[in-house]
């Protein structure tokens, strides 16, 4: 590429050189086209007009990559699927999901369309897994310093007390839920008790016992206003 061409290009960008011949030259010269593109990005950068996300022209590279990629061949039969025991509910669900008939000869009878559906399903589930994984990975962590993030700093607790409004962003094995609910209830009710007893202070003694319910005197449990 000659200095003249670069200068002309620069002039063209500034709107000076407007002749048709040079336009043709650009059209035929890939290097010049790239330069044209780059110059515009540089100019925008200098003017601080760059978009927040720089949209580099990747179309060529992607096209190349696509061409060089080996064609995906779909597995003709999915023997793993057909081998699954029909009794297992998961496998039958999976079959249904993949568009496979529950019968064992389903694999042979499957039409190409059905196969395709199955593959789409797999592709979709992979995509979902990727998204989920991404979300998981990007969840805010509890160790954030105080006030660093105005957003919720930790994930929600699963399960929840019945009277509790709950923010839930994650699943936990079912068996924990009941136990957890009990524990949370315990914390909440104990907190109420403790706060109430906060000022149950003996004279000249600043430490009080927190033995909760059982130490109460139970004598005389009549309501005082039942006169």
């Amino acid at each position: 590429m000659t200095q003249r061409k670069i200068e002309s290009l620069s002039a063209y960008m500034d709107g000076d050189n407007q002749d048709e011949a040079f336009l043709e030259e650009i059209k035929n010269d890939v290097d010049l086209q790239e330069k044209w593109h780059r110059y515009h990005i540089i100019r925008d950068g200098l003017k601080q007009e760059l978009p927040t996300e720089l949209n580099l022209d990747l179309s060529d590279k992607i096209a190349q990559a696509l061409e060089s990629e080996p064609a995906l061949t779909s597995p003709t039969v999915t023997p793993e699927v057909s081998k699954l025991k029909p009794a297992s509910p998961i496998s039958s669900k999976l079959r249904k999901w993949l568009g496979v008939k529950a019968s064992n000869d389903g694999a042979e009878k499957r039409s190409p369309k059905v196969q395709q559906t199955g593959q789409f399903a797999i592709a979709a589930s992979v995509a979902i897994a990727v998204i989920l994984g991404y979300q998981q990975y990007n969840q805010p962590v509890a160790e954030q310093p105080f006030n660093a993030a105005p957003t919720i700093p930790v994930t929600g607790i699963q399960g929840g007390l019945s009277p509790v409004s709950l923010e839930q962003t994650r699943t936990v094995p079912r068996t924990d839920v009941v136990e957890q609910r009990r524990r949370l209830n315990a914390y909440l009710s104990d907190h109420t008790q403790q706060v109430r007893r906060k000022n149950n202070v003996e004279p000249n003694d600043s430490s009080t016992s927190g033995h909760s319910v059982d130490q109460r005197t139970e004598q005389d449990s009549q309501n005082p206003d039942n006169k």
Partner: protein, 289 residues
């Protein structure tokens, strides 16, 4: 205001509403009967909850638990009465700003704002009656200024004589004060290394949770306006849980810190609860604060 709370004979109806909960109507009576302060707070909906105070003794009558009395100079109800009785204490934790005047419950009211000094707790807006300085309305706002809890007086009745209701209380029949032994000073194997400004440890002990029976190390924190409970116990099994939820306006946060599980409960923003919980460290040597 403290004097008003202590010396006037009044009968106040108020309603407490919380985010995501039913509004709760209360009746609150106070009177001086032959020099002794008497106070009665009653929840009017449902099975009800009653609390009586005679001098320095408060008796609670609640469904599901036997009645009991404790030694206290105020009823622990929906109003942070300690604040209004002991406002000086609040200066460590909150800035109090006079805002302006407005009309609340049909009365001329002075509005004040109570903002935590380090912005780590919910803020409050209170409206006090200009004549008696009794509380007419109290809002609790989260850090974004969203209303979390509101107490609103619907009627305020002052009288020269104490309500005759108080004469009906048979003091002999109130349950005796629960004697709490002066137990030994508890030393925990861990300490809290960060507290919001003005918050201090009120008590610490080891006790069992009422429902599960788990023994926990316990610390009660208070800044005069809100109370915060901190529970610490060793992680049991795979019950590793991490997270928080809001029960009405109370935040419950639980996380694993080293080899202990920490739970923080109180009317504080989850960020603050998180900061308290993560600041807990095992004691290196005998230091216990």
């Amino acid at each position: 205001m403290r004097d008003s709370l202590r010396t006037l004979n009044y009968r106040i109806s108020f309603v407490v509403s919380q985010d995501g909960a039913q509004a709760e109507p209360y009746l609150w009576r106070h009177g001086l009967v032959s020099g002794i302060e008497m106070e009665h707070l009653s929840l009017l909906n449902g099975p009800g909850r009653e609390a009586f105070r005679v001098g320095g003794k408060v008796s609670y009558f609640e469904p599901a638990t036997p009645p009991y009395s404790i030694r206290s100079h105020f009823i622990n109800g929906p109003i942070p009465s300690q604040f209004f009785i002991d406002p000086e204490q609040l200066g460590h934790a909150y800035d109090i700003v006079l805002v302006g005047k407005s009309r609340v419950s049909g009365l001329a009211a002075q509005q004040i704002r109570i903002i935590s000094k380090d912005n780590s707790r919910y803020s409050f807006v209170a409206w006090l009656d200009q004549q008696t300085a009794l509380l007419l309305k109290l809002d609790m706002l989260d850090l974004e200024g969203k209303l979390l809890e509101q107490m609103q007086v619907t009627s305020l009745h002052l009288s020269d004589e104490a309500d005759e209701y108080f004469h009906k209380i048979e003091q002999d029949k109130l349950p005796d004060i629960t004697m709490v032994g002066a137990n030994e000073i508890v030393r925990h194997q861990w300490s809290i290394n960060w507290l919001p400004a003005g918050m201090r440890v009120v008590k610490r002990d080891v006790h069992r949770l009422p429902v599960t029976g788990h023994a926990v190390d316990y610390v009660l924190l208070s800044d005069g306006m809100v109370d915060v409970s901190v529970y610490v116990h060793p992680i049991q099994g795979a019950g590793a849980e991490k997270g928080w939820l809001r029960h009405e306006s109370t935040t419950l946060l639980s996380l694993n810190n080293g080899n202990v599980e920490v739970a923080v409960v109180g009317k504080i923003p989850p960020e603050t609860a998180n900061a308290i919980a993560t600041s807990i460290r095992p004691n290196t040597r005998q230091r216990s604060r």
